[in-house]
Amino acid sequence: MTEVDTLPPNTADPGTTAALSVDGLWKVFGPRADKVIGTPDAELPRPELLKKTGCVAAVKEVSFDVAPGEVFVVMGLSGSGKSTLVRCLTRLIEPTAGTVTIDGHDITNASDAQLRDLRRHHVSMVFQHFGLLPHRQVIDNVAYGLEIRGVSKAERRKKAGEIVDLVGLTGNEQSYPDQLSGGMQQRVGLARALAGDPSLLLFDEPFSALDPLIRRDMQNEVIRLQEDLQKTMVFITHDLQEALKLGDRILIMRDGAIVQVGTPADVVANPADDYVRDFVSDVPRSHVLTLRYVMREPRPDDSSEGPIMSPDTIVRQAARAALASDHVVRVVDNGELVGIVDDDAILRIVVAEESVSP
């Protein structure tokens, strides 16, 4: 298991405060759940724990930090505890132990009023099954968050109208949710979350209920919005492709515990265990890995006439130029030569892929 505390240096700068910080979070369902934590029972596999204590540990000792503006993806199969985890962040589900800190505020000890304030102003969530109000028009669904914090009708409708335009729902303001397709409904869900101008957005498998083409559109929508708005996002998914596409970093969960945290390339290049390796085995590595993961140490006899590239260049993008040149590629970071990529290294990735992919 990868150490959680030592974050990869390129993403979380220790100098800045984290937008979200989770420390030692536990959620145990069942009778006398709090008594399980700290005992040897807590280490038992799920079926044995259930048999012995009647409890289910949905989230086990999870800790991580999310930097401002980062898209942090939590990935796992169903039952891995990821949806419970994201609900614990704003205490839609009450955590059993551990602390959650958002923008420096301790959530876990907040009063009901403080919690409501946090939910109204700082954190919003998008849900898998949308959770729209069927008796309200799109515009009033979007404005609902503003309405409950007491914004006047004219003002909240104006603000909601802007957000409706932003998510591409222009012209559907007066529709009712059941008149819209699934993808459109999720746009309403997204707009509702954005309307309160939160700094942190939580997504709970938002696109799992949509068909593949719509899902791709919506993923691109999220990427576009992220470029425009620079929100911090925690994104739950069971879809590895989605995780790799959206995530700055990915947390992989299994049976409630963290298996690995890292950048997409990190996870694909250095799987923490067989579970993750199995997971990422189908991923087209050339689409994810960067030169950092394929370069070797420079040697004195290396040619210095080849193309210069950044270590964050994706292999697939580098391949054509690298193979076309007679010389090896020099990987330069901040003006300093950090490694060499030769044709063999490129071909190992690309060809290996050809033989694995169907």
Binding site: R119, L133, H135, E147
Partner: protein, 678 residues
């Protein structure tokens, strides 16, 4: 039996064994009955605990002493009840002065028929849409034409006030119950008992507490009518999508905002279904409340029954049926309309505002006219269709009884001689402990240990109340009538369940039949047969058949289409399909139909006490008439409730078992799961 099934290793639990176990239940049932008959043959007539109608025992005396004590008591509770009663009286009198009872020195009430018609039409338009005006306005005209305008208005007033108060208490209670598992756990059993109690049983205790008159009629009506609104509201609130609740919670709403903006709007439609049920229950009770001198259409029905003027009862009953249809249609339409309103029926928005304003103006004018002019106040007497109908019905009854009596008495005597009498002989003429043991054995076989426990408690209570023999006679009537109900239910239900065409044509008739108050059912049956126990049973059968038929039809049509298709492709004949696939798979619904059939028949058999049904029904009626017998009447009421609870528990547990064959293991798994989820 279920415990054996779980102990045995799973691999041995094959289909053959399961069939054997199912057979075992049937075999043991037959064995119990055979034993019973055998013992009865030697002990017949001994220790039956029969008492004369004019006999009272110590326990009845004890009840009488308690009732007298309550009537004469003077403490906080009684003064509170008195205040309640006088408050209700004042409300009713105010409304009656408006619509039905002239207030000196005025010779006529403040608002006459024209004003009332206009107000009702406007209200119907406002809550249910313009189509309902076409139901409500003619209904009001018909009340007048039938000659029962005042009685109809009185019934509406009592029903309306009772429904208003019942909803005022019931809906908040239902919301609370929907939110709190503890409240639900406390309230649900109370509602269960309240809904098992036949309406007639409510009357005696209420008349002891509050005397007789309009106030007690409204109070008993509101108590009787409240349970559906509580139950349905709780169900509606619990049914609100958890995703939506979670999503809106995540926006930081407080509890009040959650209730007002999310839960109530989303539960509204279902809650109005509860309003419909409450209204129909209230109408049924308000009619029977004629027994405690409640005003309204129940009065002429009862008077006609007492004097043998069936025509009069029939016409008043007709007015009740019209009112039932009117109220049912309007509240149902209000429910579907609430959906359209929630979806912002913008097209009709402006039209509606204009129509409402215009309607209000017209209504005010009509109210003014009916206040000032006799023709608009008193319904014109010249146009009366009630009297001719009444005469025709009386003639028809005479004709049926003289010329057709061969057939009607033939049916009646055959049924009584070959079916009713032998069963009654067995159940009521066995020694009490033999009958009791047999019932316990049957309860255990059908419903398992929990049914056995419930039956034991109920039978002990019946024994203690000293009305064992009468209880057995009533029980016989209920069982025999329910057998007929189930035969009808299976025949028509299977027919409906197998054919959509049949379903579509029969169902509306059943729906209409179910909206009618039970009181009304007695009248046409009385036209055919004289007043005796057979009449009450026939009325009970007609009253209970619709619900049983519908449940069985739903069960049969609910059998998965894939299973039917598979059985068909295996070459099943029609009979095989029905007996081997559809009925076995619908057995949960069939037991539920038996459950409802028993309770419906029971409530009717009790009302039948007033038309010569005898036994417990008579004891209650007699308790009303003779103050000295109030104690016995009360004991009879409790006995009926105990019979109802016993039958309900046995069939409910039986139905629950039938619905999940692998029951014990499945239940245990579910339990552990639900524990993990909370």
């Amino acid at each position: 039996m279920s415990s054996i099934a779980t102990v045995r290793p799973k691999t041995h639990d094959t289909g053959a064994l399961a069939t054997l176990r199912a057979r075992w239940r049937l075999v043991s049932l037959l064995a119990v009955v055979a034993m019973w008959v055998l013992v009865w043959a030697f002990t017949r007539g001994e220790q039956t605990l029969a008492i004369q109608a004019s006999d009272r025992t110590d326990i009845h005396g004890w009840f009488l002493a308690r009732t007298t004590a309550i009537e004469n008591a003077d403490n906080v509770v009684t003064s509170l009840l008195a205040a309640l009663s006088s408050g209700m009286d004042a409300t009713l009198l105010f409304l009656q002065h408006l619509f039905t009872v002239p207030e000196y020195p005025r010779p006529y009430p403040q608002i006459g028929w024209l004003g009332a018609l206009a107000i009702a039409s406007l209200a119907a338009y406002a809550v249910a849409g313009w189509r309902q005006v076409l139901v409500v306005a003619p209904s009001f005209l018909l009340f007048g034409l039938l000659g029962y305008y005042e009685d109809a208005m009185d019934l509406l007033i009592v029903t309306g006030v009772a429904v208003a108060v019942a909803l005022l208490i019931g809906i908040p209670l239902g919301i609370w119950m929907g939110h709190s598992k503890i409240v639900a756990a406390v309230v649900t059993p109370v509602l269960d008992v309240m809904q098992t109690m036949p309406s007639f049983v409510y009357l005696l205790p209420f008349s002891i507490l509050f005397g007789i008159g309009p106030a007690v009629a409204a109070l008993v009506t509101l108590v009787y009518a409240m349970p559906p609104s509580v139950r349905v509201t709780a169900y509606a609130v619990r049914g609100v999508s958890t995703t939506t609740l979670e999503a809106t919670d995540s926006l930081g709403q407080n509890r009040w905002q959650r209730l007002r903006h999310v839960e109530l709007p989303m539960a509204k439609r279902t809650i109005i279904v509860g309003v419909n049920q409450t209204t129909m229950a209230a109408l049924a009770m308000a009619t029977i409340a004629a027994y405690v001198d409640g005003p309204g259409l129940g009065q002429p029905v009862l008077e006609g029954l007492r004097r043998g003027q069936l025509g009069k009862s029939f016409v008043a009953g007709l007015a009740i049926v019209i009112m039932a249809i009117m109220l049912d249609r309007t509240t149902t339409a209000a429910s579907t309309r609430s959906d359209r309103v929630a979806r912002g029926d913008r097209d009709t928005g402006r039209v509606r505002t204009v129509a409402l304003v215009a309607g209000t103006v017209v209504t005010l004018a009509a109210v003014y006219l009916s206040n000032s002019y006799t023709w608009a106040n008193q319904f014109p007497e010249g146009v009366n269709i009630g009297d001719p109908i009444s005469t025709k019905v009386d003639d028809l009854a005479d004709w049926l009884r003289s010329d057709l009596s061969a057939i009607t008495t033939g049916v009646q005597e055959t049924f009584t001689l070959y079916f009713l009498n032998p069963v009654q002989d067995l159940v009521a003429n066995s020694p009490w402990f033999v009958a009791g043991l047999a019932i316990l054995a049957i309860a255990w076989i059908v419903g398992g240990v929990r049914a056995l426990g419930a039956a034991a408690v109920c039978l002990a209570g019946i024994y203690w109340l000293d009305l064992w023999n009468n209880a057995m006679i009533t029980l016989t009537a209920v069982l025999v009538a329910t057998v007929v109900v189930m035969i009808l239910g299976l025949a028509v239900g299977v027919w409906m369940g197998r054919s959509q065409v049949v379903d579509r044509s029969v169902r509306p008739v059943l729906d209409a039949a179910q909206t009618m108050p039970p009181f009304v059912y007695l009248i046409p049956v009385l036209v055919l047969f004289d007043a005796n126990r057979f009449t009450a049973m026939v009325a009970g059968i007609i009253y209970a058949a619709p619900v049983a038929i519908k449940l069985i039809a739903d069960g049969v049509s609910g059998v998965s289409a894939t299973t039917v298709e598979a059985a068909e492709s295996a070459g099943s004949s029609r009979l095989q399909m029905i007996t081997k696939v559809q009925l076995p798979m619908a057995r949960g619904s069939i037991l539920l139909a038996a459950n409802q059939g028993l309770l419906y028949v029971l409530s009717m058999v009790v009302i039948g006490g007033m038309v010569g049904a005898g036994a417990l029904g008579f004891d209650i009626v007699y308790g009303f008439r003779q103050a000295n017998f109030a104690g016995k009447g009360l004991a009879a009421g409790i006995t009926i409730v105990l019979i109802g609870i016993m039958l309900d528990r046995i069939t409910t547990y039986g139905a629950r078992r039938a619905q999940s064959p692998g029951r014990a293991t499945v239940r245990r798994k579910r339990l552990s799961l639900s524990r993990a989820e909370t």
